[in-house]
């Protein structure tokens, strides 16, 4: 048994049973814990959204995160806001367009789009819904989604779209093994993408960030994603994840 989980459960039960909001000392006294231990547990539970602290009285109560446990707890617009500067920097360094996506049913919804910094005319893709199984963003999101295989069919978009379930499962396993994913001409001919998962506390994947552009720029001569670009995408995803798992601003 893991003691900290037992103690956290006891703290939650205590808060659920009490009619009022509780002070750290009340929690510590009720459970026979040192005050610093109770405080640490409450702060961690607050971080994951399971308890909330009243900023005026400093008392704790159950958090809204408990009401909707199926929700990952990060609003997509909050995700964009926290990722904004990192996404700009990725576009600047790679000189490619950057997109951030989240799963929406069997598809990917683009929640943020940074133009390729070359001053060509580009249309805003934010809000666009793209197929999950044929894009790098989607493959990364499906790789870390436990219900992925129960989702929609594998429609072909190009000759390269992966349509066989077994082959697709292998592709997702490869994404998990290497920590990033790519899709080369699987949705639109001549276009390729590289993406990596954005995680919050505990490793929960809340989105994917990636670059998307002409296949000759994204890939080398043998149509493999360029190593330098893969490193940039992964470093950006790590940086955003570190920020999301840190203290809330």
């Amino acid at each position: 048994m893991i003691q900290s989980i037992e103690r956290s459960s006891a703290v939650l039960r205590l808060l659920a049973a009490g009619p009022d909001r509780l002070r750290v000392k009340e929690v510590a006294d009720a459970l026979g814990l040192p005050k610093s231990t109770a405080h640490g547990i409450l702060r961690t539970l607050e971080q994951v959204g399971f308890v909330e602290q009243d900023p005026r009285t400093a008392r704790y109560r159950l958090g809204r995160g408990l009401l909707d446990l199926a929700n990952v707890g990060l609003d997509v617009n909050e995700l964009r806001s926290r990722a904004l500067d990192w996404a700009d920097a990725l576009a600047g360094r790679t000189v490619e367009a950057v997109r951030i996506g989240v799963l929406q049913g069997a598809s990917v919804r683009v929640v943020h789009h940074v133009f390729r910094p070359d001053d060509t005319t580009q249309a805003m893709d934010t809000g666009l819904v793209v197929p999950a199984h044929a894009t790098s963003l989607g493959k990364v999101l499906l790789a870390y989604d436990v219900t992925a295989l129960a989702r929609g069919g594998l429609d072909p978009y190009t000759r390269k779209t992966v349509t066989a379930p077994r082959e697709f499962a292998r592709a997702l396993a490869e994404v998990r093994a290497q920590g990033w994913g790519s899709a080369v001409e699987e949705w639109e001919p001549g276009r390729a993408g590289i993406a990596a998962p954005v995680r919050t506390y505990g490793g929960l994947v809340v989105g994917a960030i990636g670059i998307y552009g002409p296949v000759e720029r994204i890939c080398d001569g043998r149509l493999r994603p360029r190593t330098a670009l893969v490193e940039q995408v992964c470093a950006t995803a790590h940086a955003i994840s570190r920020d999301l798992a840190g203290p809330r601003r």
């Binding site: 617009n77 904004l84 133009f115 001053d119 580009q122």
Partner: protein, 501 residues
Amino acid sequence: MTSPERYILAIDQGTTSTRCILFDRRATVVAVARAEHPQSYPRPGWVEHDAARIWRDTQRLIARAMRSAGIGASQVAAIGIANQRETTVVWDRATGVPVAPAIGWPDTRTSSLASALDPALIGAKTGLQPATYFSATKVQWLLDHIPGLRARAEKGEVLFGTMDSWLIWNLTGGREHLTDVTNASRTMLMDLSTLAWDASLLDVCTIPQAMLPSIRSSSEVYGAASSVLPGVPIAAAMGDQQAALFGQTCFAAGDAKCTYGTGGFLLMNTGSTPVRSTHGLLTTVGYRIGSDPVAYALEGSIAVAGSLVQWVRDGLGLIGTASEIETLAGTVADNGGCYIVPAFSGLFAPHWRSEARGVIVGLTSYITKGHLARAVLEATGWQTREVVDAMNADSGLALTALNVDGGMTADNMLMQIIADVLDVPVVRPMVAETVSLGAAYAAGLAVGYWSDLQDLRNNRHRAGRWLPAMEATRRAAEYRKWQRAVDAAVLFSSVGDHGQT
């Protein structure tokens, strides 16, 4: 053989924090060092800064930025400064010690002094409306309240400066006492046409000329740094909003930028002759490069933008974080006929009704918190539209695109709403730090790091662009409803006729 890469150091001395950023030739950020500093509120309406601490922070941050980039002083081509405007420091010329805490721009202790000023005289000379923001009454207050200070000021023993002057004086080891035209234009003491201190205004505010810095352009070598980065030229200074205008490369008449934070600051470049506003906007200096003609600007502020979202979060508790306003607004297709006029402390340009208070109108049982959230975002859009309409009318120019920066540009729906209500594209640049970038650009130009304005323009890249997608008839109908909501706010608050302020 190649010489080591050189960089420009920008210092952004803001209201709540100071930042030092190193930029390379492509205008990408190489290193950032940032520190917050406290403001003190010793009495209601008073806002003070510790100028000595800000100078200590600046030295520390410069060193930290240099370490983080792994470079030495010889690799810094120039230093540029952008600063919170109007905040007033008076210090002892001999010791360099401030004679009192700096009086911050939001400080309202001088409201009786400001209201005693003649708006016609101030407007004609400075392009400003008398207000507590500007430095003049703050200097006057210090001279009135610190025993013996006026006599010492007359003898030139104490010096006045805004934050740019304070930092330059310290950076040069007390050799240079100067300010740039953009900062000087916010003191309410500079004649906007001659770009010199105005004797009649100094007389009205009883401020001795001996304590004033000399007025220089925004982009020229003012002197060399002494202790920190010894020998590196200090080559630019600009007020922060003007620096953002410059950083957004708004170099042509009609180019405009809006910074969306708790409020909004919209500046439009109006070219080389000052445009006097008949709609209650401020006329100010945009920038001046060396001995080139001055670029003037019109400035309009949006009093309540992000702070309305904060109110929805903290005051109403409808959302947990500011970003969630967009999620909530996304639950409905339109505002359902609901409009919010956030006149929390009166209506600003072009209305100028200080007695007005906010209203929510159009409520029916159909209205949900989603409709309110949408009305919240639309309120920022329509306030922007009112300022843009006033600017277009004053300047005779028509805005063709709005360049945006600031925290609220992360709100995708808001950016689309602004494009829709203005009927022009809204453009977000790749470099978010437009204030620092503007200071860096001006400094780099002065030392030949960048060759000309076109060279700077080439660095500019769009990160995003929102195109108007609202039908003209619907835009017009919605604008009329917003204007009726504004009328309602004025009507609700008017007890008799308070007239204009």
